[in-house]
Symmetry: C2
Amino acid sequence: MTYTYEYPHPAVTTDIVIFTVRDAKLHVLLIKRGMDPFKGSWALPGGFVRMEESLEDCAKRELEEEAGLKDVYLEQLYTFGTPNRDPRERVISVSYYTLTPSENLELKAGTDASEAQWFAIDELPALAFDHSSIVETARARLSAKMEYSTIGLQFMPEEFTLSQLQTVYEQAIGKELDKRNFRKWILSLNLIEETGKKFSRGAHRPAMLFRIIDPSSVKIIR
Amino acid sequence: MTYTYEYPHPAVTTDIVIFTVRDAKLHVLLIKRGMDPFKGSWALPGGFVRMEESLEDCAKRELEEEAGLKDVYLEQLYTFGTPNRDPRERVISVSYYTLTPSENLELKAGTDASEAQWFAIDELPALAFDHSSIVETARARLSAKMEYSTIGLQFMPEEFTLSQLQTVYEQAIGKELDKRNFRKWILSLNLIEETGKKFSRGAHRPAMLFRIIDPSSVKIIR
DNA sequence: CCAAAAGTGTTCGTACTACACCCATGC
DNA sequence: GCATGGGTGTAGTACGAACACTTTTGG
């Protein structure tokens, strides 16, 4: 079956930058390409938009197919459309990004991806297509948003310590923060509360565990 | 001549929201459609992306063809891709927005546009496709950017008074500003300087005229 | 001389910054 | 008992918000 048009049409894909923080470092999920072009190279999860699905639905589908991730909040990042960014044909990529807690990530390879793996943002391999630019754009956007919003909470699991949260902010923004000032700030927002439980992780005082009071409020990104 | 693909491809357009301030009110440029669908309706300037041009080049070309505008700074806004937003076929629209001084706007109708006209943002007619959403998105983005950046200067002609500039900010943000605080703020940035000339426009004290010191610095939008 | 917009400083409150020590635990 | 990260308060500064009167012109 073929599809014919009176004028040339580009192909449209979505590509998704998924951030998480593991081992106190910012990571991005990459998929090893199972097909040409760039077979064997690492690339962002993503794929072609189907005629009956919206752009965001496409991104969500790809995310589930290639990385087993569901129910994530996606934000549109930028649309990349330089004429020769794909050697096959003209491909326009609508990119999205998201943040996720590092736990509960069932990584699986999908149809056109033979492997999925987390990479530290500072140790990325060479990427297929212009995906390096996409990651760079996402990193810049993330960093800017973290400075004046509470999206950092989206990185967190159900329960977390303030030190973990601070590490996430430090990693995403790329600079160190003052512990007391950080705690004052995040607590003053009344978005998180103590669970009453403690978390012991070594030869030192255990940390209080916190939870997000209203998960829906975290999505408010101005 | 026809073009055939193995999988269905969407069409891709760019649509541009051009803001200006005239008569102390925020305006948007609209084009009266000369062809179906929505023949006779008002719509944003824009059109189909050609295979050999980048998205931004496409937006610039359409802007010149349909509105006679050249050398404008465009910022990508959002990509709209709901499946049925165009009755003809699946069309994905990459939208851009820009600001321009109200002077020197040679408005001309292009190939698929029979008329171009400025409309006050609060008095827009019904728009073709989902262009109302695009305008709304652009307005929200503009308003947010105006709060913490100096893009407002892009609305200004060569020489302008501080009152005019303040009006622009008030229109875009949608609220009144304190005259003394506004002046302190804008002057402290060292982006504008007095021309030495004065501008008389009625039975009152004439205003000092200002100019932008370095036009390239105005494009810095974080 | 009157109407109308231009121009000009100070005070207050708040939010961010810098900074150092004690606490609870595991080994 | 010591090493390790967890937890806490205060003082100084800088920035934004509120606020009213004088100046210059045209008619």
